[in-house]
Symmetry: D2
Subunit: 352 residues, 4 copies
């Protein structure tokens, strides 16, 4: 296979970005189709990607037999079904995070993928950001010694539409946003989280509360190796899209984050000022390209995806536990070996 | 009273700093005596403060009847007894934090103080730092809207001597260090913490664990008004004395902290570099002077101390609850009106 | 014209970047050809841009009659001749800076362009950097009042190859690098430089001196409106590719620059550290795309190019004057109306 | 001599600071008197320093024979006469910079000092700032290799009173303010400036121009060893008291400066913000104490003052040359051995 034939399933904001990146910024791949039932989205695709076949549903796309891989950027609640059908059709898959909204669903999807022998990569974008990659490299180089504390924050400027905040659609703040902090923590600390305790509330946007979600949350976490973490997620950081991570080791620390957008500072009688990033593309634009290229390369080179389905399932386990803790006011302990096949299924099922 | 006559009780590292600041940097006060039974410490006082009467115990100092106020910087475990005796003698008191190691002790001391009608101020130094004062001013000005998240970290470069780490001497990491994060949070958020959950461990320095203490800890906290907090304390931030605070509101945020010591950056093939503060005086030197002046002024002007005994007791309540949570693995709920006289005494007594 | 047919003349490092950006990152344009006589460069083009016709000289390209516009990224010493031939052939032109090495040459080229009625834009990349654009916007908004001081620095990590440093090839440090500081100053201050005085030397790399160039230089400059500037250019900023600009007005200031590459800071016993950019693409990558898009748009929309040939000539005048001052040790005064047709030709010709 | 008896000659803003620092922050010295003919200033001294003898002129102070050393903080135009009389009386001297307004005057004063065998230290405060000291240490450690470029800026928020701006009183912007940049450059680069060219103007405050001074100026300078400098001085940096220095070597660079006052950053929809220092004490307060201690120590220990009279004369030479260049539009060359006794007296006398 000299050039990977890729289709994008679901061309909302993220799917459109993936389509555009496949066409304009990825080596070794071509965009062969998208799926959408909306004429307006089809037109948006045409504008940024040129003439591309548009299928109004996944079945028709699969029947076309003209592709090698799919990027699934449909609604989270449809991820598992989409993954199962694409895997069954022998297609390699890059699926937006989270893989699903329940561990049972995810297990089922992973089984189908394993049986089909296709590759499944989870779209944990931030892990491909140059900042997080450099931090990981520094930690692995021994620059900070043994990691003992992890601090992370994810701040969005505004709550999402209510339809999205709904726990049954996106999983809510914890599964949708703090999920990133959990994934990055597991990756940077090279360890699994085994206990979480959370506080959360719909403090600012009562509507978010009306669909069962929170707009701000904090979580304390414990890793299997003893290290500790504080995770913070907010939908109301009005001052910018605030993504920060920090790992403190017994010989040093590493801090990741850049709120400033342009390299400009202005000064007047009121002090010194600089601007801020307010959207994900402003901060993470390059990471989307790096992630996509990484997906394409792992298929062309037949190597393991850098983010596995097990990563997706383990991260989701912690997120579900954290959400449960926030809802009940009790700490939740995961099995000390949370990687499948064990994964504390008995406990975890109870709390989903 | 035109000039306050002040004695310093206990001239260890902190007491010596107080003595020197009274002599050289405070208006309206004079140093009339110190207490110490060590000839070496007496000599240290003489070197930095000139000829000052030295008493070898508190009784003799009180008998001298030559003073108006004391600064108590003895061991934490002796605070309450010292406060009681000085208050009974009619002396105004600035007592290093924490006021005591148990709430019962503190209540007893506060009763003696109230009966005697003297002023008792708790030495919460960081609150007098220009950075925290500016942050408080900004929050009160409405610059960040309603505060919803508080994040704080206190990092010391090395664990203290084992004799000090002992829970019965200093109260350990939580009562000695995270105490600051709790006090500052209550003050900056203008609210009381009503629930805490903590994780902690002697991850790096096993000796610290041998005396019952931890060297790293994280705590999730909930305020009465709904806001949330993450508190982090470490005795092993080898890269510097890392004190940071952050309040996120529904219209903005404020961040406090400066690790850099000199205003110098050097650059070479390996990148850009700057130095760091490694000790409390390097970061907080001016705050000690401001605190002392504030104590002197409140007596000379007969106004309320800016940090009351109730502040001390409420902060200690939360610290004890956090330490208990770390020890038991369970969240601890304080009464929703934790200010005395209520203060959740029944629960709190149980967990001390 | 729905899509601009563009050829790249000269595919060295910069030309290759332009070719790749036309193919992958520019709307409304297609790459129809490149010129190079090197099989190795032709292969490099094929790798990053796919199959594109390659001509071994400019004449053959022009004869092909299959194009609307060219990007001239040949050696500086060939710019003027290339511009003249392309203009005569009715092609629109984006020419790398500087337009030429002498004002007479530039005048001649501009005459040909004007007669042919084609568009000529000079490739002043830094002006399209988001940082400089934001600074310009702030100044024009009145945020800093009336500009009175301009400070600029351009630092390269290493001297260029000797063959390039040669004054007859690149114009040397002042025409090649400080040229940027001059152009940006004219643009940000919205004023013309009328007097310069410079000091320069081959302080570090004696070889650079052997071909008549300097490796470090400083220039004091005066604007027609009275404002002042200091310009610094270095080929030996080993710590990174250091591009900074600053405008101080009578009500505030604006500072532009970012040396840090990844948004990561690491900390250890030696202090805090961050990395740096070391190459132009690391710092200015996006500006190349913005510049190219701007060129394409001005042709498709038939508007004036944002950087005119007069900008190129006026900037070159100041650069030549500064180089002359460095060589002679005397200040050089330009006419107070340095914009063509006057431009102080009599003085300027003498000093070239 | 166990404790140095010091008097302060002239208790304007700076003299009062010196008096207060002698009393409250200096080891080994006591304040024995001040001179002032103003009852209001005498009262100001009493408020901050307690009861101190006040003499209404220098003669009476000298007659009192109760002192070992003086700090001369009278008007610059009176420095030389004050130095001569104190030296003749056998007193050690710390004299505010500049030592005088002409080189002839300075030479005369230095002769008297040398004959009397007393110590004369020039009050170059910034050299005692922790930032500049750390930068000097880094340069001497070899961290940046061989220094080749020096960039310095001194910005005051507002022009001084007209009576002070007068060239005959303070020497104007160049002798009063850019003098610092010159001194620091000589010190940091460990080399002498041998050629200067300046541009200056009263761009913002026409009144300053009416007394012969400028409010903004830039200077290019050349060191004897070949290195180069740009110096910028402004009386109109409305955004703060902006003091920055930078040395670029052939292996790295060092940058000095801190505009931020409190360690606080606030963030809102308009971006991120921090405050600034606006006065010299806010930025340089500690340096005044360090300088004073250094003066006291060099007398008590009978060592050479860290800033010699030759430093003062050499710095003044360059400042006068720079002012002359600004006034004439011509570069000024100093002798290559500008240290006395040579110092280019013939040239320098002509231009004063």
């Amino acid at each position: 296979m000299s050039e990977l034939r890729v289709a994008v399933v679901g061309v909302g904001r993220m799917g459109l970005t993936h389509a555009e990146n496949i066409v304009h910024r990825t080596r070794g791949a071509q965009l062969v189709a998208v799926t959408t039932s909306s004429a307006e989205r089809a037109e948006a695709v045409r504008r940024c990607c040129g003439a591309v076949p548009v299928y109004d549903n996944l079945d028709r796309l699969i029947e076309s037999k003209s592709l090698d891989a799919v990027i699934i950027s449909s609604s989270t609640s449809a991820h598992v079904e989409n993954v199962e059908r694409c895997a069954a059709a022998g297609l390699h898959i890059l699926c937006e995070k989270p893989l699903g909204l329940s561990l049972e669903d995810c297990d089922r999807a992973v089984n189908v993928v394993d049986t089909a022998g296709v590759k499944l990569m989870i779209g944990h974008t931030r892990r491909f950001d140059a900042g997080y990659e450099e931090a990981k490299r520094l930690i692995e180089s021994g620059a900070i010694g043994r990691p003992v504390l992890y601090r992370s924050i994810s701040g969005d400027v505004n709550p999402p539409p209510l339809a999205f905040a709904d726990l049954g659609v996106s999983g809510g703040l914890i599964l949708d946003s703090m999920y990133h902090d959990i994934y990055l923590g597991r990756w940077l600390m090279d360890d699994e989280i085994i206990r979480v305790y959370g506080e959360g509330g719909a403090l600012i946007d009562a509507d978010v509360g009306s669909v069962g979600d929170v707009d701000n949350a904090v979580v304390s976490a414990r890793f299997a190796g003893g290290a500790m973490a504080t995770l913070t997620a907010s939908r109301t950081t009005r001052y910018g899209h605030d993504l920060r991570g920090e790992v403190i080791g017994d010989e040093g620390a590493v801090q990741i984050g850049r709120l400033q957008k342009t390299p400009v500072r202005w000064l007047d009688k009121a002090g010194a000022h600089h601007d801020a990033v307010f959207t994900t593309p402003e901060r993470m634009g390059d990471a989307f390209v790096t992630m996509l290229q990484s997906f394409v390369d792992c298929i062309l080179d037949d190597t393991e995806p850098p983010v596995s389905s097990q990563d997706g399932v383990a991260t989701l386990s912690v997120a579900i536990a954290a959400r449960h803790s926030i809802q009940t006011g009790e700490p939740v302990t995961l099995d000390e070996q949370p990687i499948p096949p064990v994964l504390g299924r008995d406990l975890m099922k109870k709390i989903q």
